[in-house]
């Protein structure tokens, strides 16, 4: 199945409500006094998380999102994953998308690793039989061994990262959206993960990766978008990005 991701002029604003603005009493009183006061007393802060972002990805592309903490990487990943709908711009995603954005998200801490594999599979509407047939290779790839039978709350963050990455990549999806949590794994796992992601180009799968690990970007990704304060300061191939950074 063909897949593509196209963003055109995407602008995303966050509305941040203070305690005061989340109170019904204030809203009601302000209504009684008049709409103007509501605006000045509401304590709603608007943060522009993304401004005019455009990108175009096709099958086999592996895009890295780089930028400082708070630059808008996760916001952009959430827009691509369809979690946030931007106020302006077009988001056109074709293909089956799997997103693993927050660290440990979707994992049930009290359930065992195996139960969590089944749960993550169910969340992606993958038939039970298919999930069962993949369990062995997920356990093998994640190198968790007998730990898969223990509750996830006993896992280290690196072990959780291994489990999540193995599930995200083993269940077939056209587009895989991953955030920085991948960095929680050790060096050996990092190499293993990057090898697997390089393999996606043959399967015509797409990876979109938020990361701070420039080594990983160079090894795995063919395109890079660098974000600063919500704006794209660079968008192009990895080779151009390295040249641009060295300037």
């Amino acid at each position: 199945m063909s897949c593509s991701v196209r963003l055109d002029g995407v602008t995303l604003d966050y509305f941040i409500y203070s305690v005061k603005a989340q109170s019904l009493r204030n809203a009601v009183f302000n209504l009684a006094v008049g709409g103007n006061l509501y605006k000045s007393q509401g304590d709603v802060t608007v943060v522009r998380a993304l401004e005019n972002i455009s990108l175009d990805l096709v099958e086999g592309d592996r895009l890295a999102l780089v930028g400082h903490n708070g630059s808008g990487k996760t916001s952009l990943l959430k827009v691509i994953a369809g979690i946030y709908e931007p106020q302006k711009g077009i988001v056109d995603v074709k293909g089956k998308l799997t997103s693993m954005i927050a660290h440990g998200a979707g994992l049930d801490a009290d359930a065992s690793g195996l139960q969590n594999i089944r749960k993550l599979g169910a969340m992606r509407l993958i038939p039970k039989k298919v999930v069962e047939s993949r369990i062995d290779s997920i356990v093998e790839f994640s190198e968790l061994g007998d730990f898969v039978r223990l509750p996830v709350k006993t896992y280290s963050s690196g072990m959780m990262a291994r489990l999540m990455f193995a599930c995200a990549t083993e269940f077939e999806a056209d587009i895989i959206v991953l955030d920085e949590w991948l960095g929680a794994g050790d060096a050996a796992f990092g190499r293993k993960a990057s090898n697997r992601m390089q393999g996606f180009v043959d399967k015509a799968q797409m990876v979109i990766l938020g990361t701070h690990n420039f080594g990983l970007v160079e090894r795995v990704c063919n395109k890079v978008i660098e974000i600063a304060a919500g704006r794209a300061v660079f968008y192009g191939t990895t080779a151009d990005w390295i040249a641009w950074r060295n300037q």
């Binding site: 966050y14 509305f15 409500y17 989340q22 109170s23 019904l24 009493r25 809203a27 959430k78 994953a81 369809g82 979690i83 946030y84 709908e85 998308l97 997103s99 693993m100 954005i101 927050a102 998200a105 979707g106 049930d108 009290d110 359930a111 749960k119 169910a122 969340m123 509407l125």
Partner: protein, 263 residues
């Protein structure tokens, strides 16, 4: 126009995700009672304790002294209330509780509402079976009326719509959850859950006639006790569906995109 279409899309997609919320709802119900001795029978124990206590008090208040006279009415009332109004606090915290999931996966808002309601429905069904067994043992039971099969879907659809209507503002204004929890307790007393509608006379009977929850309650309690609900309850049940449906579409059109930012 686009936003109205998206609102309808949300509802349709949410319903189509039935395989997922059916699985998750069942799993989460099992998880809820993990490591408890009684398991889901805690709910049954709760129902029994409430019903016995209320029957005891009401028997005394009404002067006939016999707990048996009201027991069937009260226990079925409490049980049916759980699916007609008792779920309201749960409903208002739907999106707040699903916040983590909403921030990691794209799912229609309707999905979270249906998942919440389905979990309440599983509890209801488990207790309904316990109730029939109990009434049979006490020789108070009668064969349930077939109209339950029509009344239940109406109550559940109305319930899903009401849940959406309370869940959306509850994310934006955190006072709403508190007021709904307290409001549902008041409603419990204003609705003939543990008293019989005939006992309410005079001007006060208006709280019976104009209380939508009273009509929804009768729509399932009557068939549970083997009677057919009267026409007025059906009219309210179906009328509510239309009115609430219109409110839900309007709310989804206006606020659907913003809810995830309110979390």
């Amino acid at each position: 126009m686009e936003a109205i279409k998206a609102a309808f899309r949300d509802i349709i997609d949410g319903v189509l995700l039935a395989p997922l919320w059916l699985t998750l709802g069942w799993e989460q119900t099992l998880t809820r009672f993990r490591r408890t001795v009684l398991g889901p029978f805690w709910l049954t124990a709760n129902l029994l304790a409430m019903a016995f206590a209320l029957s005891f008090i009401m028997g005394g208040l009404l002067g006939n002294g016999n707990w048996r006279s009201n027991f069937a009415l009260i226990i079925s009332g409490i049980l049916c209330w759980s699916i007609t109004g008792g779920y309201l606090p749960d409903a208002s915290s739907t999106f707040i509780a699903a916040g983590d999931l909403m921030n990691t996966m794209r799912l229609p808002l309707t999905f979270h509402v249906l998942l919440m309601l389905y979990k309440n429905f599983i509890n209801f069904l488990a207790q309904l079976i316990a109730l029939w067994v109990l009434l049979f043992l006490f020789k108070m039971g009668s064969i349930p009326d077939i109209s339950l099969l029509l009344g239940l879907p109406i109550v559940l659809i109305d319930g899903a719509l009401i849940s959406m209507i309370v869940a959306i503002p509850a994310v934006r204004f955190r006072d709403v959850y508190q007021s709904i929890s307290f409001g549902s307790q008041i409603l419990f007393f204003l609705t003939p859950v543990f008293w019989s509608p005939e006992q309410m006379q005079g001007k006060r009977s208006i709280i019976l006639k104009m209380n939508p929850f009273a009509h929804l309650l009768e729509l399932i309690r009557q068939p549970v006790l083997g009677r057919t609900p009267s026409l007025i309850h059906w009219e309210w049940g179906i009328g509510l569906m239309i009115v609430l449906g219109a409110i839900v579409i309007t709310m989804l059109t206006l606020y659907r995109k913003r809810i995830v930012f309110w979390l």
